[in-house]
Symmetry: C2
Subunit: 317 residues, 2 copies
């Protein structure tokens, strides 16, 4: 048989089932050689009832980690074999409280030493195997219940995307995505003003030629975000034209763009960095705050953009 490591983790599931079946078959075999007419799969149920006197179907199902029909069917057979009986619960007439019959107790007594020995034998085997299969199985169950594979997969993708975000400088061929991303952003939150259209349609002429910068965020050849640094009066730079593709929001692309912009500002020879935004855009404002922009009264008076209602200045840490 091929090794599990060769088949890959994906074969694990099949092999777990197989191992389960091997153990079942072999313990059944053990009971048979002891002349005990009983099946391994019923043991945990009987043990629980042996400890707890009487339990309902759903209680048992929950404790054993099986569905209630499974317990229902099992208990039906065990009742036919006269090993269990049930009574309707006085307080709740839906519940069938299952208990062990005298015959059942007799069987359990007969079984007890065998179970004890099996426990020892299997315990030794597990110790040989490193000791923690049980813990591992349990941990896996719990982890998968807590956060299913689908979710873990999308987390992996997200992580991979975040890692593959590149911040690059504007090139001629970025004109179209630059326009589209910013226009979409404006239309979503405000409306496109005349000055927007002017700047957005001629980014090179309006931003870069006057001494500014444009940064683009790229994920695998796809442009997913923009930021611009526009040269303003008095050797100041204005951070503006921040836009991220809605499909790629929540990946921290905005933050990467702002940080890259700040680095660009620091590398170049300017006296200050500011931005104008709108208080409604709380996630953006808190991002700006986080990276070092603090609110101030605008020294320029009213902004040319009617949507601007907050003025922030970058303060070196």
């Amino acid at each position: 048989m091929k090794s599990l490591n060769d088949i890959g983790i994906l074969g694990l599931s099949n092999r777990l089932k197989r191992l389960s079946e091997i153990i079942h078959r072999q313990t059944d075999e053990v009971y048979k050689t002891e002349n005990i007419n009983f099946q391994a799969r019923n043991v945990p149920l009987m043990q629980l009832l042996n400890e707890n006197e009487s339990m309902s179907v759903t209680q048992l199902a929950e404790m054993l980690g099986q569905t209630h029909p499974a317990i229902s069917q099992m208990s039906k057979k065990l009742q036919q074999a006269d090993l269990l009986y049930h009574q309707i619960d006085g307080g709740d007439e839906r519940r069938r409280m299952l208990s062990i019959t005298p015959v059942g107790f007799e069987l359990m007594d007969q079984l007890a030493p065998v179970l004890k020995d099996l426990q020892i034998v299997l315990g030794r085997l597990l110790a040989l195997a490193g000791g923690n299969i049980m813990d591992n199985v349990e941990l896996l169950e719990r982890q998968l219940e807590q956060k299913p594979l689908v979710e873990r997969m999308s987390e992996l993708r997200r992580e991979r995307m975040i890692n593959s975000v590149e911040i690059i400088h504007f090139e001629k061929e970025h004109s179209k995505p630059f326009y589209q991303l910013n226009r979409a952003w404006l239309e979503k939150y405000f409306y496109v003003e005349d000055i927007d259209h002017l700047v957005l349609s001629e980014p090179f002429e309006r931003i870069i030629e006057p001494g500014g910068f444009i940064l683009m965020a790229r994920i695998m050849d796809k442009i997913v975000g923009t930021a611009a640094l526009i040269a303003a009066k008095d050797g100041q730079l204005e951070l503006s034209k921040m836009a991220v593709d809605p499909d790629y929001q929540g990946l921290g692309i905005g933050e990467k763009l702002v940080i890259a912009a700040i680095q660009q500002y620091q590398a170049a020879d300017f006296k200050g960095l500011f931005l104008e935004s709108n208080r409604r855009l709380t996630p953006a404002i808190s991002l700006y705050d986080k990276v070092g922009f603090k609110e101030q009264k605008s020294p320029y008076g009213k902004s040319p953009y009617s949507r601007a209602d907050i003025f922030m200045v970058f303060q070196e840490a």
Copy 2:
């Protein structure tokens, strides 16, 4: 849900199956979100065929650790879905060599990145769990295949029996088992001589009173073996009346008796220890040899027992 450690190892099997089902269900879910119409349980088969081009049903069954009908039924469905096709093997017309169709390869290509990601996600989970579930599962499978539980159980019993063998001194109530064990032994290998009957029916008078000893092997209140030290001429002791219940042979009871007899001899004040036996009884002879008895020419001449054809003397190590 109850913890596996509470349910005991016997619940392991049920829980392994459950874990297997959880993983299956969740990987199926992943494929579904990727719009891939495929079931997790078929993946290992497809992967094997992807690597190996074409394989027969039994080859696949053997490699995947499943029965051939399982593969047969699986492949039937996969052929209906146009993912596999088969050709009769040229050399052996019984064999159906299975291969992947173009449609199947397309699916595998589509699946490849998802599988890779799943591998990563599951790999992380397993690392979290301690890292060696796969090894553990494999080790358990192998161990159980090599030596099934039934066998391990009887080994445990045997071990326990060996540990519970007690060597005690003869008491009045041991007269009957002493007689029966020795008589059965004689009848099995030789025949009962007159002198045997005399000594066996009056052990106290014939062995202990003249200054000898009788040791009994007891397992949980059951007498299962005997050995006697009979005072002989010249301050010599003779080891004799060695018998072990056939139901308890192979547990090293004979060895325990001999060793206890030697210790008894050393503790008392005698000048030598010898025995007479028969060369046919090779296991006994080799045991005597092992504990320090070496063959010598008998100084007494012919033994009163007609069965005796070897004389051995104990030599201090």
